[in-house]
Symmetry: C2
């Protein structure tokens, strides 16, 4: 029994599939994508496909643009880089026709996928489903360029990196598709990175909330905006491997609908690229945190974890983390702020990383933080900063302990075993 | 005094410029095109630019398509190969903005350039000039993708090889531009190929009719459809080099408006890729030529020169030339025809080439043919076949004599000297 039969039933379903750049990386791989689409089609399903540019192509086009103009005009950059997906849709349709499947390609402008005018980070406003419905009705597979759209004036826009995921979800929402399948080079969402913990386990399901936390914490499986979009429009979203014939991937679920017992912790996310900034000898008076962090936020630098030490002699220290790429910019900025508020000094630490445990189960299980802290303490790993949300706990630790911490936590929360992790939540 | 000042006057002109793939071949060359456009803009002229794909890009995209599907779907092939020009328009606009010139790019679909639905060889039906006029009015340079359009259903179409010339001329016609400048890698139209005759001379002017004959006879300076289009819509067309700062190129004129004394012969064209087919022992009766050539024409094989020998014993021989690339196909076809009509045999000769003298002056000078034949005879070059039009005489000769024939004719008609050639026409 095939995957499609098991999951979509024997009646005709409408499926949106998204294939990323690696899946479309060569003529051979494009033919293999076509063969997969053809199998779904042969089972009687209607299929809409959205694709990314062939791997490396977007970077090539950006490099070419920068060789012409160091700071390319944003409108024209979108004109250039949107061609990557346009090549992909044409090639995939050719490959589909080659297998005997009728197929028609559409650019974002042709569909049309209407966006706002924010070049390089446009947001989808609406999708005209007329042409797609007509072609599906005629037995065609419809192939839509990911990552791109047009604004109300007909200018070409792009959605930003990973935008093809968003295109896929938006198409599924507009068409009320039975399922949106995101094909990637991994076969689903894992409890953590298997390169660090070989026992990492693929999750059959994960909730939208957990997926959102994981995406914002550095997991690269799904683009955060696509997950938000899918959650908002209740799109049934599944992550699958385009390199495996079988496998059911990971289904992103709305928690309330899940009848399964959920484990306390679903996964462990981590992010190496953290830097800690400490402003020392800050006058300990109300509003000082805002005076420091306001200018940082204004400069579009994301601040993550923040701690303010207990004051002493009318002074205190304020520490917070920023992305390592933003560190230099933040330090320059804070040099001015320091003088202004009369702080003693500003120091930077580039050796930080962030490790997070994520799980909707922790809402009803208060012991997660203490279990996490004890596990790290037993290995002598010093926690520098802590941040929490309703369904995650993040700690900043020295980067050299990253792998050890992830392994220790994976074991402590028994993520390598489905049965054990379920037991915890009982 | 600059070229623009001399030719376009000091009042503001509307100029359409077309740059080919070699002119757009690298970021450096694109910046150099931008600098040239900026100079015209600085002189107060309105400029619309159309560009080809960067050299090699169209071939790369075709190869990629054929790697996916040996006979790519024509609609999808146009989707893929039209991206080459889309990249070019974006890059040129970036380069223009970099020089401080405001610029906006348009794909064929965005303009829009409406074509019929004949994928890969579409014909332009109309051009909507609204957006172009608006942008020009706002001081923008408008950059339009060459080679492409959309049909009435919004499908992407391409115009066929060299189609960017046609886009340029069509834009000039639609906008009633003061001049259409075709920038290439040569600095104009020559009396013949300078690689064969070092004394070949650039022509300041050439008539549309002569240019049409030269294009159809193998000259690659301008695409034949573009010349037809320019003639039909009375577009002032000029061929120039994009690699020279100065130079006035060659102006393609409507003969009647030219006040200059025209030489008898303007140029010598040649084509190596000819093959001669002879059907031997053909029954000498009416309609036999059609029975032989009809099936060849039906197979879309162009037949050029045709001669039928004087009949003898109720039999005759029929010879004609075809493009060398079509020879094998024609021979297979004629094998069947031979049996059907009861001809004795079919023979092929791949060693033919065609040399032509072209000039509107020959209308009033009947001695051109005899002068041509004598010049060739004096060098012992045997003429195998002859074809003529009102303004050209073509001969088929053995390919090994090609260079010699071209040199001899160039000298015989004194094409290396403006003065001499004028004398002839007196």
């Amino acid at each position: 029994m095939s995957f499609a039969d098991k999951h979509l039933g024997t009646t005709m379903a409408l499926i949106v599939q998204k294939y990323g750049g690696t899946s479309m990386g060569s003529p051979e791989r494009i033919r293999s994508v076509a063969a997969r689409v053809a199998r779904f089609r042969a089972q009687g399903h209607q299929v809409v496909v959205t694709v990314s540019a062939m791997s490396g192509e977007t970077n090539r086009l950006i490099a070419l643009s920068k060789a012409v103009s160091p700071n390319p005009d944003p409108r024209e950059l979108d004109v250039v880089i949107s061609t990557g997906e346009q090549v992909s849709i044409g090639l995939l349709c050719m490959a589909l026709q080659e297998t005997g499947v009728r197929a028609r390609s559409y650019t974002g402008g042709q569909v049309k996928i209407l966006t706002d005018s924010a070049y390089s980070k446009a947001r989808i406003l609406s999708i005209d489903e007329t042409a797609i419905r007509r072609d599906l009705g005629q037995g065609c597979v419809v192939v839509v360029a990911g990552f791109q759209g047009v604004d109300a004036q007909g200018n070409i826009t792009t959605l930003g990196r990973g935008g093809s995921d968003t295109t896929g979800v938006a198409l599924a929402a507009a068409l009320k598709a039975d399922e949106c399948q995101i094909y990637t080079d991994v076969d689903g969402v894992y409890t953590t990175d298997p390169r660090i913990v070989p026992e990492a386990r693929k999750l059959d399901t994960v909730t939208f909330e957990e997926m959102l936390e994981m995406a914002s914490l550095g997991s690269k499986v799904l683009q955060i905006r696509a997950v938000e979009f899918a959650g908002k429009y209740k799109v049934k979203l599944r992550v699958l491997s385009s390199f495996q014939e079988e496998g059911e991937g990971t289904l992103i679920t709305v928690e309330e609908n899940s009848t399964m017992e959920k484990p306390v912790i679903s996964g462990i996310a981590f992010n190496r690229d953290e830097a800690k900034i400490t402003v020392l000898g800050v006058p300990d008076k109300p509003g000082i945190a805002f005076q420091i962090l306001g200018p940082v936020a204004d400069a579009n630098i994301d601040v993550d974890m923040i701690i303010q030490n207990v004051g002493k002699d009318g002074c205190t220290d304020l520490s917070f983390t920023v992305g390592r790429a933003d560190l230099d910019r933040a330090m320059t900025l804070l040099d001015g702020v320091r003088e202004q508020i009369g702080a003693a000094a500003v120091s930077a630490d580039k050796t930080m990383c962030k490790v997070s445990v994520v799980g909707v189960g922790m809402r009803s299980h208060p012991g997660v933080a203490s279990k996490m802290f004890r596990a790290l303490a037993e290995e002598g790993i010093n926690i520098r900063m802590i941040a929490t949300s309703e369904i995650r706990i993040s700690v900043a630790i020295e980067e050299k302990y990253l792998e050890l911490a992830v392994r220790v936590l994976h074991k402590a929360f028994e993520l390598d075993s489905v049965a054990s992790s379920k037991n915890i939540s009982n």
